[in-house]
Subunit: 421 residues, 2 copies
Amino acid sequence: MSQEPHRVVIVGAGFGGLECALRLKGAPVEITLVDRRNHHLFQPLLYQVATASLATSEIAWPIRYLLRDRSDVTTLFANVNGVDAANKRVLLEDGDTLGYDTLVLATGVRHAYFGHDEWEPFAPGLKTLEDATTLRRRILVAFERAERESDPERRAALLTFVIIGAGPTGVELAGTIAELARDTLPPDFRNIDTHKTRVVLIEAGPRVLAGFPDDLSAYAQRSLEEVGVEVILNQPVTECSADGVVFGGKPLQARTLIWAAGVRASRAAEWLQAPHDRAGRLQVQPDLTVPDHPDIFAIGDTVSIADAKGNPVPGIAPAAKQQGRYVAAAIKARLAGQTTAPFRYSHAGSLAQIGKRKAVIDFGTIKLRGTIAWWIWGIAHIYFLIGLRNRLSVAISWLWIHARDQRAARLITQGSSKVAR
Amino acid sequence: MSQEPHRVVIVGAGFGGLECALRLKGAPVEITLVDRRNHHLFQPLLYQVATASLATSEIAWPIRYLLRDRSDVTTLFANVNGVDAANKRVLLEDGDTLGYDTLVLATGVRHAYFGHDEWEPFAPGLKTLEDATTLRRRILVAFERAERESDPERRAALLTFVIIGAGPTGVELAGTIAELARDTLPPDFRNIDTHKTRVVLIEAGPRVLAGFPDDLSAYAQRSLEEVGVEVILNQPVTECSADGVVFGGKPLQARTLIWAAGVRASRAAEWLQAPHDRAGRLQVQPDLTVPDHPDIFAIGDTVSIADAKGNPVPGIAPAAKQQGRYVAAAIKARLAGQTTAPFRYSHAGSLAQIGKRKAVIDFGTIKLRGTIAWWIWGIAHIYFLIGLRNRLSVAISWLWIHARDQRAARLITQGSSKVAR
């Protein structure tokens, strides 16, 4: 009875880490949830903040708030920079350490520039709220500068937006920027015709939305082209600079580049000196523990694992949540002296929005596209948003956009025109 | 018929400048509205962004959007850094110039530290959206750091918030921070008791809300003290530093200081080498023109002018709007060859919120306080918000706060714990 409670430390409060903490409710454990942000982020809608459709507070919640009723959970706002597995301690950047009995690593991914980190300042990616407000500023400032630019060539470069990578994020960004230019902005400007905006989506592979079936990819491409997006396939970008991009040996002048082409796992594998794939993702056991570290679980995007058919489990929110749930159950089982079956991923479906009133959905046997898919996409996303208020607020924002073609969050913050390069 | 249209340049899209542009509708003029921000800001609610009650997009709108239907108005996102009155040109920072026939200066105010500009990094003020998100971050990070601080003295300093200046902004900030600590945050933290937060409001003068009648000041002070704010009167602050403040010869350890004590007019008087008062405000003629510059009007906070009784016109939104409206009418009259009567300020009333369900209102003959005043305050502010969507969104945010004691916008952005000093 006087035994010390079992200490679980969870690093990262994304979909996987948060789900694990939530599902450990009632277990005889003491939980510490560490994140370097104070908020949980609903990443699937981050592109809507970047394109001025939603406000930051509509897709993010203080982690403490989400766990306010859980006295067994301590939330820590801190940077982790290592794990001392021999002594079972998590090392924090400020010198503190946290002892654990079981550790759950849910540290996610960051952008990867495939050995070209020097491209990052020119082609920022989209992973955090700050990334989203930075992109929003760059996109809006580009139109502002175009409005004042008299040189036609420079003006054209300001009105050219290049998105590198045609996965769901790239497709969603391209579609939304095209609509911003076509539907929202035209009445606001006097010197430029924002219909002339070029949105160029460049993909190294042979089709957009490579994770979807061929026919949905083709449909997505057609839909993007209908709203004016130029889709360029089979062309890896070979240079990003302040002037634009180079692909296929030719330069394209563009002042706004967005990187949606690749990610790299966080440093969890480095911390543990554990086996990982080329993208830095930990190769875990079937029970999601790290090899030789039975007390360390790893989940979500920072992990490389295959489903029952041998296909890689995708880096999407439902997969991370399933893993968080599995680990919570595994910890409970262990403490009860039971064993657990290996993790099995169950794929519910893939969704991607393409512009304002279209989406594609792949449920495996059922494939949907067009307006009906868009409604399901919207309802599913509103449903999964945490917190009644945000659901309502996002629903109102979307209705507003669709009824009036207006976007409420078109704010350039973090400085005046001075700041924008 | 082939005459060039009369060119009006308005510098500043705050309440005065925007109102002037809106009221010039239909006049035979060509308007250019220049602002260094892309958004018009509803400053009276800025403290609610700083205290995590509202999102930035709920109180700000793209200037272009507000004037999208006005083909006679060109909106320019640019920094003005001078006026060449002899040649009738506005000088932009990037080297461009704008010719005018009539110029309207509505450039507002910034913080003033009374000769102690070195205090600014320690005691930031609240004038822009960036100021508000910076303050929000500092306030939220202070609680986060207190949660992890084991030294009682340092923890107490982290949980001490000092607001310098007890005008409406200071009073509203103090009341809202006290409520954040008492009503919103307690269930979120494990190591600290946020009820023990000290909110100290320091005022150099003899009472809070000096612009209000004595009895409302006394009521506001009592109400603040009821929610736990320590009100200190007749004490000018003599030092601000990373450790806290000094007043009355004694230091008070505090990690979060907020400056609400004074403002200084923008550089418009410098640009024109025109007469101004000690706070840098232009001394204008009864028709709001600048002496010796009949083609230059100046309005709003950047101007010093008296009402019919000889009292200074207050630096509030309704006063700026009345001046904007007056100048629009004056420009129209001049173009029609008519003269205009001098500007007359009509004071509708003064309002200030004190914490969640209380306010004071001074309508001159009628004085209101308490819950009824708070309802009028809320309805008036929602009414004056531009744009149906924001009204709805703010109303929902407020209902949510009052029903659940939750604040949606509690996001620490612009960096992780690293960034916070």
